[in-house]
Structures are given as structure tokens and as C-alpha cells.
């Protein structure tokens, strides 16, 4: 209330010269002048917080609008009480409001060259459990800064891909199918055959099924690097071991 009184007073004072100018230029001053005059005077003694709609209906709207826009822009920033200013940094006090809006990453928050690289050894690990953990890290769902539309995840290197394990009879019974597009063009392979032919494809197929399908999913898939032996060409990235919390991922055989 205290804030509106000076605002209304300044608005009414600011409008007086305009009213006189408009009254002199408008063709029928008899009806216009008393109305504006009355509204202007009623602001002083009443001191009621009238909404700005009643004020803006007057002919001197252009003059009023610029004032209000400046006030709105200033009001949009968060005002920090003086006794709490020590808790906030300069950029936070004068900058945009970060506490009432959900955070969305800027370009500087997901630079590819600054992402973490993880490495995991696939020897005797259960295929699906390993692929699930990898997909979580690639997508970025382990981070509090997770955003579904932005690639916030990490890179993952998988080595010893030919030694990945499956339980039960899947080694001879799990089928990998692909179709060339032509009639009768279905090709079927068992897990064993594919492992002998192209072992990397097993882990890639599993992880690709767990990543989102779409443009972003395809770029996420390129962050997975699978290799057959224990060597990989990414020594310069200094990959850290992938933290795995799943207790049943290690096959005992």
C-alpha cells in the first residue's frame, strides 16, 4: 500500500500538464476535462490502491505506458532484503531470477570437450545389466542437471567386448535379426555366431535399444565406444572407471 501511494501521486502529478494540453487540443473539452480533472483529484485524498486500468483509460496513455514499462522491468528482478545480501554474490543480486524458474542448460553447460569419459571392462558382465548402466550414464540420468532435450551425459568406452556374458541358454538361443528390406531378406543369427563375427555389435545393439530413439538418441549413441580387445585409442581422454552399483552384474562363471 505504501508503495502505491507515491506511485499514484507521481502518476497523477505527471499527468496534469498532459491533461491541460489534451483539453486544449480536443474538440469537445466540456465532457473530457471534468472527467480527467475529477479522477486526478480523487487520487490525493482517497489514497486507495486503484488498479492501473482506471488510470490507463485516459487519453494520455502513451506517457503513462513508458513509465509502467520501466517499472515492470525493474520489478521483474528479485529484490534481496538488505540483511540477506551477504549470502548472495553480485551476479546473483543484479542478474536474472534463478530461484523461481526451472534451470535449463546453456550452451556452456554441455560442451563436448569437457564431458567426463568413463571406461568399463565387459569381461564376464551380464549383457543387459551392463547395457542399462551404460545407457544411464550416456543419457545423463545420473546427474542432477539432467535435461531430456539436451545431451548432458558422458562418454563411455567398453573394452573386452567379446567376453560379455549372458545367463541361461541365451548364448545359443538368443537370436539377432535384421532385414534387408527386400522380400525374404530376413537374416537371423544366434548370439554365439554374432559374437564370433562382430562382437562389438552385441553391446551396441543392447545399448541402442536402451537409449531414446530419435535425433538426440542417435547422437547419444555416438558417445558409446566399444572395442574388442583390452586396448582402446582414447588414452588421451583419461577415462575413469564406470561406477556400477548393480550387485548382480558380474557373472560368476
Amino acid at each position: 500500500m505504501a508503495a502505491t501511494i507515491p506511485a499514484s501521486a507521481s502518476l497523477s502529478v505527471g499527468r496534469f500538464p498532459n491533461n491541460r494540453a489534451s483539453s486544449s487540443s480536443c474538440p469537445c473539452p466540456a465532457t473530457a476535462l471534468p472527467r480527467t480533472f475529477f479522477l486526478g483529484f480523487s487520487k490525493f485524498p482517497a489514497a486507495v490502491a486503484k488498479p492501473s486500468l482506471g488510470v490507463a483509460s485516459l487519453p494520455s496513455r502513451r506517457y503513462l505506458r513508458t513509465h509502467c514499462q520501466q517499472q515492470e522491468q525493474q520489478q521483474r528482478l528479485v529484490v534481496v532484503p538488505r540483511e540477506q545480501r551477504w549470502m548472495f554474490e553480485e551476479s546473483e543480486i543484479n542478474g536474472p531470477d534463478i530461484w523461481n524458474k526451472t534451470w535449463y542448460p546453456k550452451a556452456a553447460d554441455h560442451i563436448s570437450t569437457e564431458k567426463t569419459w568413463y571406461i568399463v571392462d565387459a569381461t564376464d558382465k551380464i549383457l543387459g545389466r551392463l547395457a542399462s548402466t551404460i545407457a544411464i550414464y550416456i543419457r545423463g540420468k545420473n546427474l542432477a542437471t539432467y535435461t531430456p532435450s539436451v545431451d548432458m551425459g558422458a562418454y563411455v568406452i567398453v573394452v573386452n567386448a567379446e567376453k560379455v556374458a549372458v545367463s541361461g541358454k541365451k548364448r545359443t538361443q538368443k537370436l539377432y535379426r535384421r532385414h534387408s528390406g527386400r522380400p525374404g531378406g530376413m537374416k537371423v543369427e544366434t548370439f554365439d555366431q554374432l559374437q564370433q563375427r562382430i562382437p562389438e555389435r552385441i553391446i551396441e545393439h543392447a545399448v541402442r535399444g536402451m537409449l531414446p530413439k530419435g535425433r538426440l538418441g542417435r547422437t547419444l549413441f555416438t558417445h558409446l565406444k566399444v572395442y574388442k580387445g583390452p586396448d582402446h585409442p582414447h588414452e588421451a581422454q583419461m577415462a575413469i572407471p564406470l561406477p556400477i552399483h548393480d550387485k548382480r552384474i558380474q557373472s560368476d562363471k
Partner: protein, 121 residues
């Protein structure tokens, strides 16, 4: 609505939908229907995004979202999910304090094996 209004709303549409009135009218009607529906969906989507972020933030400390919220409810901490997700991003130490409060109130799952996963990645 006359054609000018339709074309004004059809800016940025693909192909003939931004230029030809018959197609644009259909697409604009659909777009308005979608925007009506999505103003309601946006509230749901934002809440699920906050929950996902809180889940990720608490799992870094070994607690999952369900047990964390249960502990907060027990302690009668009425912070909403929006604020909690912002805390987990911008104020990690305060968030860890909240996770500890929740863990004391409701032990829930105890992770025996905790590998070295850092708080701020």
C-alpha cells in the same frame, strides 16, 4: 477468424501450411488445440522433470527418490519439488543436508556398496 489472423498464427509452419489458407486453417486449428492441451500438460511435464532431477541428485548420496520424499514428509518439510530440484543443482551441500535429514527420519534402503561417485560432476 479471417485469413490474416490465420496466416499470422501460421508463421513458421512447414510447407504449404504457412502459405495456403485451406491447409493453414487446418493446421492452425490443430496448433491451437495442441496449445490448449499442452498448457495443462506442461505442468505435469515440469513436475516429472523435477522428480527426475531430485532422483538423480539423491542417488548420488545413496538414497532413492521414494525414500527421500518419505523421510521429508515424516519430518514435515514442505519444500516442493521445484525448489528441491533447484537446490540439487545449485546448492549441493544444502541438498546433502536435506538428504541426511531424510535418511535419519526414514532409513529406507541402505547401500552397502558405494563406489566413489562425486557429488558435483
Amino acid at each position: 477468424m479471417n485469413k490474416d489472423k490465420i496466416f499470422k498464427l501460421a508463421k513458421g509452419f512447414r510447407g504449404r501450411a504457412k502459405n495456403c489458407i485451406r491447409i493453414a486453417r487446418e493446421r492452425v486449428e490443430k496448433a491451437l488445440q495442441y496449445s490448449y492441451r499442452d498448457r495443462r500438460n506442461k505442468k505435469r511435464d515440469m513436475r516429472s522433470l523435477w522428480i527426475e532431477r531430485i532422483n538423480a541428485g539423491t542417488r548420488l548420496h545413496g538414497v532413492n527418490y521414494g525414500n527421500f520424499m518419505h523421510g521429508l514428509m515424516k519430518e514435515n518439510i514442505q519444500l516442493n519439488r521445484k525448489v528441491l530440484s533447484e537446490l540439487s543443482i545449485h546448492e549441493p551441500y544444502s541438498f546433502k543436508g536435506l538428504v541426511d535429514i531424510s535418511r535419519n527420519a526414514f532409513p529406507g534402503n541402505k547401500l552397502a556398496v558405494k563406489d566413489g561417485s562425486s557429488i558435483a560432476v
